[in-house]
Point group: C2
Chain length 292, copies 2
């Protein structure tokens, strides 16, 4: 059975923070929910929609009575949030987050939180192209993975409570080493986004007064993620630099292999590489496609 | 008004060739249609579906009575088809094709056709993931671009007849220099396909026993074209080598710029590059999205 949360404080009441609030209300396992953010308009909307009960613009003040704090801000803002809450955080409060990279957030927690063992890092792998409390919905996390990345110092009680929270949202919860998480997500998420931005820029600079004129459906799908938020992806790239660089190098190496095959007229190499890629993608879709 | 085609021979009666046949029947501008191919099963299906009237496995025999020949085979097979038809082609017959790269097909026509001025290269920018005559449908080309790439030697009458043919399919027809076509398509079509294959391979080789485990919707869309036919894309890459290499180099350069920014912690550079890419893609979709 899901544990009770008496007073949840959601710092960053956007799509993710708002959807966690709605999902926990749906599960009936949360008492009061306070939203924290900069935009009074967004926070008032969140109250009007029943996402939160009340709101504050002051992190320190808001967390003073919390037993659970969810930090769902851009990963680059995590350190400032931890620093702001440090003085007022009740000793028994538990903190979790929703950031797309984990090692940088854990480093910030270790530096600024009075008791980092009460922080349980989390990454719910869910989202839409929308943002803001108005886009939040209770079903966002249903059947999606949420990866927790505790370390050996993480408090067992805090971990159990955070696991219960994410399970109550509908997520399927698993644990993973933070470095493994960051490497894995660099490959399947951060790298494709950066590559999509890079490809659009390569075409944009390729000359002609209308370089995208004959782009068709394949191009549209390939570059869909290049319409994602530049600010958010700058932050993610900056917070997962080491893993992302390794994946960028791997992609540049693969492109170099294919370039050499095209240049050398090595049709067999192209066929082998293309067929291996298709087989790997098709196998992935067959195995996990129903989870997407 | 569309000109009349007395006897159309479609060499390669798959999705494209079959759809051209159906679209011309819909337009009421074609008499007899003969299909040519290797698979008796596919050709009989084409007859049963009313795509073609009759069929042959022999290119030379089939073209002897044609006034219009459509070559819709993989681009790498064009030379063999031209060579096979050379002896039997009526002097007044006109030839067009549907290949994704144009310079290599024109070189093959120049080498093997008795009168290359009667060949008018074409690239209808349309298709689906399906293949074979059973997948053909009359509406495939409606409102899509078809690019013709005649050169200064192209016969004016042949050009007019081929333009009429493609217009009758529902295509919007335009003319372009073959080298410009190949460069343009290398950027917006061939490069994304090769990059998608490369990215899947980079992730596949990135270690772990299940490297795609947490790939989500963004990855699925980005890599959709990596489930395309390896044989077809090998052929296209091999037939447009020079332009594709230039675009691969441009992409590798862009990835290098972003890698250097991540490595050097240059958040401003990442934001600028990401924002420029998003703006360019969004502007393209706004302008041409309704054509896709």
């Amino acid at each position: 059975m899901t544990r009770e949360i008496r007073h949840l404080v959601v710092i960053g009441t956007g799509l993710i923070g708002g959807s966690v609030a709605l999902a926990l209300r749906r599960a009936g396992c949360v008492g009061r929910i306070t939203g924290v953010g900069r935009s009074a308009e967004n926070l008032q909307l969140a109250v009007d929609l029943g996402v939160i009960d009340d709101f504050s613009h002051d992190v320190a003040q808001a967390v003073a009575d919390a037993d659970m704090v969810l930090v769902s801000v851009p990963v680059s803002a995590s350190a400032d949030v931890f620093r702001a809450m440090a003085q007022n955080l009740p000793a028994d409060a538990v903190i979790t987050d929703a950031g797309s990279s984990k090692q940088s957030v854990m480093a910030a927690a270790a530096e600024y939180l009075p008791n980092p063992s009460r922080f349980v890092p989390a990454h719910p792998i869910a989202g839409t192209e929308e943002s803001g409390a108005g886009a939040a919905f209770a079903e966002l996390f249903d059947r999606h993975w949420c990866i927790l990345t505790p370390d050996e110092a993480t408090d067992a009680d805090a971990l159990a409570r955070v696991r219960s929270l994410w399970e109550a949202t509908g997520s399927r919860v698993m644990q993973m080493d933070a470095a493994a998480h960051d490497e894995h997500l660099a490959a399947v998420s951060h790298l494709p986004h950066v590559a999509a931005f890079a490809l659009v820029n390569a075409v944009r600079k390729s000359g002609g007064d209308d370089p995208f004129r004959f782009a068709a459906g394949g191009f549209r799908d390939f570059t869909r993620i290049a319409s994602s938020s530049p600010e958010m992806w700058r932050d993610i790239a900056m917070c997962n630099r080491e893993a992302l660089i390794a994946k960028l190098d791997a992609l540049i190496t693969e492109l170099g292999v294919l370039r050499a095959a095209v240049d050398g007229g090595d049709a067999d190499c192209l066929l082998t590489e293309f067929a291996a890629a298709r087989a790997a993608r098709d196998a992935w879709l067959l195995k996990y496609g129903d989870e997407l």
